[in-house]
Amino acid sequence: MAKPRNPFEVTFAVWNALFLREALRRLFDMRAAWLWLLLEPVLHIAFIAYVFKAIRMRTVGGMDIAMWIIVGLLCFFLFRRTGIQVMRAVDGNKSMFTYRQVKPFDAAIVRAGLEAFLMSIVAIVILSAATLMGYTTLPDDPLLVLTAAFGLWLCGLGFGLVASVSMRLVPELEHIFTILMTPLYLISSVMFPLTAVAEPYRSWLLLNPIAHGLELARAGFSDYYHAVPGVSLSYLYTFATVLILLGLLLYRRFHLRLVMK
């Protein structure tokens, strides 16, 4: 009788297998799917930068406008892509659940890991291109940038976990979650500096943890950047932790519902 594998071996084997499969899907699913992964943020950056240059706005809070947009957009895309991919992870891997080794949570965590990996590559490519164009792209405080980005990634994972289970319980919620991403884009200071918003409305907008992550990443890039007062790393991480714990709870409670026929 073959020796049974221990649970860790099984889980890592599954993660390895799913990671390779998801990478194939993400990069080669459609014609030049990998190109669009890169082009989507590039086009966003180019368009917003063009608009700002057209209205003669060169800096935001002491940071060059191009860098301000690049950092903000890359961070926002890290959150949004992770969130949306994790949200659809269970549906996208349905055929794999006939193999009992594959659990819904495996699909979710693998997709989150893959998005982090792909976004790092996209970020490196875009930042290198910006360097060649003469912008200062080396962060003054790399650790703060990484911490902020990691917090945003955790938020994305947490959002995806919660969303994927609630979507299964109430299918209509999928539309709401997808629609939610657009206003989130507008209020997270991706293209509109929160410093331009007057109190008390700014404090309301600062309830959104994504704005905290973006501002902190920018502050990490440039020591001279005046971030919106009141941003805090602990708020971002508290929010992410709560979301992830809630997501894990929902997975624990409803994991049968996710795969059961």
């Binding site: 009788m1 073959a2 049974p4 594998r5 071996e9 099984v10 084997a13 599954v14 390895n16 297998a17 799913l18 390779l20 499969r21 194939l24 899907r25 699913d29 349905k94 055929s95 794999m96 659940f97 006939t98 193999y99 009992r100 080794q101 594959v102 049968l256 795969v259 059961m260 026929k261």
Partner: protein, 220 residues
């Protein structure tokens, strides 16, 4: 050995939970015994089989597998955007065969006889080609217990003959739990029988006794 302990199962219908299909099934299936599941349509044979295979979960109770149990033979999931080869690799990796991946993929390629279609996306396959790939995948691993739901194999006559021989060899080597409505098949492969009736399972050491009990229940 597989221990099934007090398994209850019902499905969700469009109008809330449906009736109980399995109502407290407790069994111990010893190793190296081939078992046939017998019962009327809708008695819960396939349901029990899927729960034993871990593809579906019981609402209550639990299943303990103290050996390597296959997924329902010929019903493994395929990812339609991937090629046959990529699917084979994926399933090998899930089952922890990273080291001897090449050999197993070669086996799947040769057994399924898909030729150059092996490197085409599965969504381009005909249903016969799909089931050939699925059957080859099931045979590519050394499970202690195989589970099989009605299907031995699809495909053309030559492939069916080859598949039936492989199935026989497998049934002699490892344990088998199967569902079939064909008495001949059950008698050929199985020693013991489980009769599923009104949500309960009854174990018979001899498949003939199980068939007798089943027939008596329908003649009433």
């Amino acid at each position: 050995m597989i221990v099934v302990d007090n398994v209850h199962k019902r499905y969700h219908t469009g109008h809330g939970p449906g009736p109980w299909v399995l109502r407290g099934v407790s069994l111990t299936i010893p190793p190296h015994v081939n078992v046939g599941l017998i019962g009327a349509n809708g008695a819960g044979k396939s349901t029990l089989l899927r729960i034993i295979g871990g593809e579906d979960q019981p609402n209550k109770g639990r299943v303990e597998r103290r050996c390597r149990v296959s997924w329902p033979m010929g019903q493994g999931g395929l990812e339609s955007s991937l090629t046959g080869r990529q699917n084979a690799k994926l399933v090998c990796r899930v089952h922890g065969h990273q080291a001897d991946l090449t050999d197993r993929v070669a086996f799947v390629r040769d057994f399924s006889e898909l030729g150059e279609y092996f490197d085409q996306p599965v969504r381009t396959y005909s249903s016969g080609m799909r089931s050939r790939l699925q059957f080859a995948l099931s045979l590519a691993f050394d499970f202690d217990v195989y589970i099989s739901d009605e299907v031995t194999a699809a495909g053309d006559a030559a492939f069916r003959k080859k598949a039936a021989e492989a199935f026989k060899a497998m049934a002699n080597r490892a344990g088998l739990i199967m569902v079939s409505h064909d008495e001949g098949t059950l008698k050929q492969f199985c020693q013991a029988g489980i009769w599923i009736h009104e949500g309960k399972a009854h174990w018979f050491d001899d498949i003939d006794d199980a068939l007798k009990a089943y027939k008596e229940s329908i003649s009433k």
